[in-house]
Subunit: 356 residues, 2 copies
Amino acid sequence: MPNAVAVKTKSSSMRLLQVLGGEALSPPPVWLMRQAGRYLPEYRVVREKAGGFLDLCYTPELAAEVTLQPIRRFGFDAAILFSDILVVPDALGQSVAFLEGEGPRLDPISSGRDLARLDPAQTRTKFARVFETVQRVRQTLPREVALIGFCGAPWTVATYMVAGEGSSDQSAARLMAYRDRAGFSKLIDILVETSIAYLDGQVRAGADALQIFDTWAGMLPDEEFEAWVVAPTKRIVAELKRRHPAVPIIGFPRGAAANATHYLQATRIDGLGCDTTVPLTQMRKLSESGVAVQGNLDPLLLVAGGPALQHRVRETLQAMPGVRFIFNLGHGIVPETPPEHVAQLVDLVRSAKHGG
Amino acid sequence: MPNAVAVKTKSSSMRLLQVLGGEALSPPPVWLMRQAGRYLPEYRVVREKAGGFLDLCYTPELAAEVTLQPIRRFGFDAAILFSDILVVPDALGQSVAFLEGEGPRLDPISSGRDLARLDPAQTRTKFARVFETVQRVRQTLPREVALIGFCGAPWTVATYMVAGEGSSDQSAARLMAYRDRAGFSKLIDILVETSIAYLDGQVRAGADALQIFDTWAGMLPDEEFEAWVVAPTKRIVAELKRRHPAVPIIGFPRGAAANATHYLQATRIDGLGCDTTVPLTQMRKLSESGVAVQGNLDPLLLVAGGPALQHRVRETLQAMPGVRFIFNLGHGIVPETPPEHVAQLVDLVRSAKHGG
């Protein structure tokens, strides 16, 4: 098992992997979802150079640069590949465009017939550019900083593919799943297989850990949650674990706190991303199921800053002694965030008393 | 206690009140959130006559008519007052406009200073029109059909008042609460007091039960959930119970399944509205805390119809024998719903085998 040995060696210096591997650390490792992005002036400079948003994702030199920017500025314990969950449908051949200030637009898939437009074989070229980014980042990144690869979970990616855009209630995908269960199921299957290939390639290129973002997991009734969130994630995790047993996987089923215990037990993830609504007491309890818990500061507290931010950071750290805990937000950084507040946050986390 | 006696008499014929009062019925009583609305052709006829949407809410003859339409067509066990949660800010003096196809627009409140614009004393005139609607409906409604009055919960109403519009993440209100806790707290206080007066008037006019809609309860971190959802709802429920001990109150903290037990115990509501994501097994468990549970069919199943709808309705009914259960949706009916599917649903619920 060369992987296990390799990671064991690495894990001695990467604090993120130590926690995902079973240890509780104080202070906890810290990184932030969407830590590379528009709130950073140095990101905006690169973004202007790149042309379209997807061009940035597919240009290894630039994508690697923006992945590294927040590490240089804040010294986080992990970098996360700069990319987008819609790289997968784009690589599959569904047209994806990012309109300034309006979010993504896709040529929607409205029935099983439209699936003929998707071609898993043609993903190679575009995925290869992402893998090159991973390789470049891993070569540059300090040894003790973990590199997280990621993909969107099949359900969440499918909601965009079916609606043709983001939506607050994911009604297009939910309706397709009710009306054409076979067709929707086939779409999910394609996404499971493609996500496995995508994550596998990221690990081979140097990713030390993986995160599966299920941003829209929180709107599904129980049977649908089982069919479209739990089962596909379980398949992805099982296959990745078979190929790379020592690479830990974090699942992030946003909005699904009520079903979190079932999700983590069924999918066998190593880390559970918790959104802002998960009470700290529940995070402690969830960690007792044998996972690391990650989260869950409200990103708006990073906008507000000041005493409200300090209070919540302290309270979070005080709730977590002895817990396998990774400090993060409950959702991504928003563009209005002052970078100074992020620096303050990292200071607050790092200066927390050991064991307290 | 004249109220208790009056309701006890009523409750012998109103199935909704029987369940809220402690009984489990088979088949369960059924009504649907947003059962009066755009999906009904007869509603669209009245809506055209009314001018603006708020004009419809404030014209007792027309508002009473649309409240009664779904009762005539489907024979639900309860009618719910036709109105809108934004009647409260409108009556308080914040300008509210409903733009066709775009949702509500309000002149936003962005700090404690803006609260001077709100005047609880001036709500009387507009509230009186709503109370007249309640009176008219109660006079016309068959004796065995309960009339539900309602308001938006302070947090949910505040999210619109602060953002000036609907938003998927309620970030404006969350930010104001972090930045200006005293100001936001004062806004919530005004809404608590105004909601009490509003619900009290509805009961005096003839409402048999009340529902407090906290549509946006699901995005708050635990301390904020306590401060802005639980505490204000508790105050409203306590005061209404003091004035009208026999009028049952249903709370609907949408998206807050993980905190539902705490919410129902702290607020002392009689019925808990469950959104579509609450598993049926959890609904059963919640009912053991001494509340009736109401919900939670996905409104999109009413759009889809067919076998998916039948399957879920059967499964729901099979999960609920012996449970104090009110059949409803997990969120409001959407405009695309074919009225035939609603008729089918009511048939399915009513024809369920007793005890099964």
